[in-house]
Amino acid sequence: MDCPDIRDAFMKGEVPADADVAAHLKGCPQCSELFARDAELGRSLGTEGTVNMPFEDELFARLEDEVAQENGPRAWLRSRPTGLRFAVVAVSVLAAIGLGGFARLRADFSEYPMARLLLLLGVYAIAILLAFAKELYLSIRRGSLADHAGLLVGALGLPFLIAFAPATETSRHTGSGGALGCFGYGALLTLPTAALLWAFDRDDQPSLRTVCLSAVALGLSANFVLELHCPSGNASHLLLGHASIGVAWLAAWSMLRRSRSPNHLRK
């Protein structure tokens, strides 16, 4: 005798009572509540009949219509297994870093303090991994945005903090010019990843957590690339051309989210 057996008995209108039940109740305070005061609660919950669902056929017909529309590249992409979808996104991030960063290294790369570069890249890499891991975790398990607000604020704010780090000898005298170019460069390189994130999202209207985590991942990826590519140490340049990319992606994703009707399924 276990909890489901007791539940089934009550649902049949019976009040189970034998030695097995007594033994179970000794170790199960939840079921014990069902039997208190002449099994009042168990009887009451047992009065709940089976669900009458006269609209089942209509609802299923609507669902079949929706499922029938699930075709085309996006439908195929977002039905891929979660691990594969994340692996493809990770490859696109690595490709952006490889093509935009390592293939076009900053002019002062040979003189730039390697320890500092590795530290900054390491911080960005950890933040990117945390954002993606959180997104992967949340796609499987539930979680409220508030639970992860620290990560979101920290990851979005990280490039802004780094912009105020002391400049190196090689980057000290750089001006604020070219910020727009860096902004465009970083945004363009992360555009394929953004397209993949959109295509892979199984929600028709992206959830707020997806919007925030996607923006964080894209912003950090762009800043990783620009750390390798751009020699500027000017705070204004870093704020306008680098750190703002994450915020811009957040705005873009938010606009995309607003443009989607939450009640698209209702007919």
Binding site: P4, E33, R37, T47, N52, L59, E66, T82, R142, D203
Partner: protein, 186 residues
């Protein structure tokens, strides 16, 4: 589910017939209209369809389906900026579903529905899944993303509160007085 993943379209209808009533019931208690509940049931199955390749053979389907449904319900409340709570004298308290024992059963079921609807959402959710969904506590824990110990505590507290409310209802059949007698309990 394995048959559906393999391409058997009839299996989808079987899945729907098996789980849609449970989901509809779980949704209906929190939402203001049957249409909203039906929309979320429909979305749950649409997500299930999109996620079908994530299903691991041997894994239980029910907790997985309820996990999708609960996430959609929470997202619905987040978007509509409504709290996942109900009021005992609110219109959205679901009418009891039809049972085989006529009016007597219907009245008792109505009282139970009202008492359930007045519970805090986190308690009601666990009772819904455990009692009406037929999920074991480990499965409930998986569905709500919590620990077995935590959901057992929530279930116990929910049952205690429910019993108190039903006891009050027996003494005072006016449902508007139940909540005040039980102190709100939220």
């Amino acid at each position: 589910m394995t048959a559906y993943v393999a391409g058997d379209k009839h299996a989808f209808r079987e899945l729907f017939a098996r789980y849609a009533p449970l989901l509809q019931r779980a949704m209906a208690r929190d939402l203001r209209s049957a249409e909203e509940a039906n929309d979320l049931v429909q979305q749950t199955f649409l997500h299930l369809h999109r996620s079908r390749l994530d299903f691991e053979p041997g894994r239980k389907v029910k907790p997985w389906v309820f996990t999708i449904a609960l996430n959609l319900k929470r997202e619905f409340f987040r978007r509509s900026k409504r709290r996942q709570e109900t009021s005992i004298d609110d219109d959205r308290v679901a009418e009891p579903f039809e049972g085989p024992r006529g009016q007597e059963r219907s009245d008792a079921a109505r009282e139970t529905e009202r008492a359930l609807s007045a519970l805090p959402a986190e308690h009601r959710e666990v009772i819904e899944l455990h009692w009406f969904g037929g999920l074991s506590f480990p499965e409930v824990a998986e569905a709500v993303g919590s620990t077995v110990a935590a959901v057992k505590v929530r279930a116990h507290r929910g049952y205690v509160a429910l019993r108190a409310r039903l006891g009050e209802a027996a003494l005072d059949p006016d449902p508007r007085n139940i909540e005040s007698a039980a102190g709100g309990g939220r």
